[in-house]
Subunit: 201 residues, 2 copies
């Protein structure tokens, strides 16, 4: 049921975001969206021209959910070191405690990206860039604050952190074995310790 | 054009394997398969009952291609240490020099797995298990031969290696930046060195 205070456009976006993130862009049909929203085709086409337009808006919405969860967790930390460790936990949590059904939307769209329309592919790229860039900033900030010294370029450390955890998400999900994710978290924490040498600790 | 010595069944499998691996299971339609094979619907349904049956056979075929490439590279190595390093290179090569267009088929099917029919989901799980299990065996064998001593359980090391490189494949592909993959290879080699301490070297 659509809550009274939600606009129809937002309602379509929210329901479609869940569908796209669980079924994937290709497997999600207009009929699926009609069924989930309890709207007729015309009711949906009042707001969006086609499935791609819905998918673009749905990705923006899902991306905001991820960012909001990240921010609410990160706000509780004071040091960059803590923030980096929270990011590791948050990336891992996307598999078994996702902000939106189906796992990490940035990752799900990235995986489908080479098969998607250019606009959606750009969204995936942009989402991945935002994620890695945020980690780079925390690394640089921590180094500037004198919390730690980085042994490798920020871009390289950030890329490895994201890759390790996104890959572990897939391995854990495919083998239906959450241990795989815990091992990746331990391993990525160790990697961070080895490559960001903490000062005065 | 179908080569003369290829059976029609094999021809359908080979062409479909490329389609499924590039477009994904859902986006690949029977019309795509008809177009790629130059066959009519009836010509395809002589050999397969439905799209799922083609997809299952296509996955087996693509999986064999991966295994064949692994084996041909691994046969050139004598020590388990060398073999483990070759596996790292091979997993990384799936993004930019794949055995079949579209990247690593085990990974591509795994990513779609939660959305697929149970039989295809089982295939993905089985493929991932074979891959991680093979690494575990080489770790155990190397330890038995006295090449190195492992600092962590074989399952954990194998899982981290696969996760790191599969994740890096996605990050590199999404950002269209091969460096991401090279960093993951360096990082995973370092991880191996830290967790499999070589003896007499």
């Amino acid at each position: 049921m659509k809550p009274i205070e939600t606009t129809t456009r937002d309602w379509i976006i929210e329901q479609s975001a869940i569908l796209f993130n669980t079924k994937g862009y290709f497997a999600c049909s207009l009929s699926d969206i009609m069924q989930a929203t309890h709207l007729q085709k015309g009711g949906i086409y009042n707001y969006f021209r086609n499935k791609e337009e819905i998918a673009l808006a749905a990705f923006d919405y899902a991306f905001q959910l991820v960012m909001r969860r990240f921010r609410s967790q990160l706000d509780q930390a004071t040091s960059c070191w803590e923030k980096l460790n929270i990011i590791i936990d948050q990336l891992a949590s996307m598999a078994f405690d996702p902000v939106i059904a189906g796992g990490c939307p940035i990752f799900n769209v990235s995986v489908e990206a080479p098969r998607l329309d250019p606009a959606l592919m750009e969204k995936a790229k942009h989402g991945m860039q935002m994620l890695t860039r945020y980690i780079e900033l925390k690394l640089e900030e921590g180094a500037l604050h004198g919390e730690f010294t980085c042994q490798k370029p920020y871009r390289e450390i950030a890329s490895v952190i994201v890759g390790n955890l996104e890959g572990a998400n897939i391995v854990a999900r495919t083998l239906q074995d959450p241990d795989r994710l815990h091992w990746a978290v331990d391993h990525t924490r160790e990697y961070l310790k080895l490559n960001c040498l903490r000062i005065n600790f």
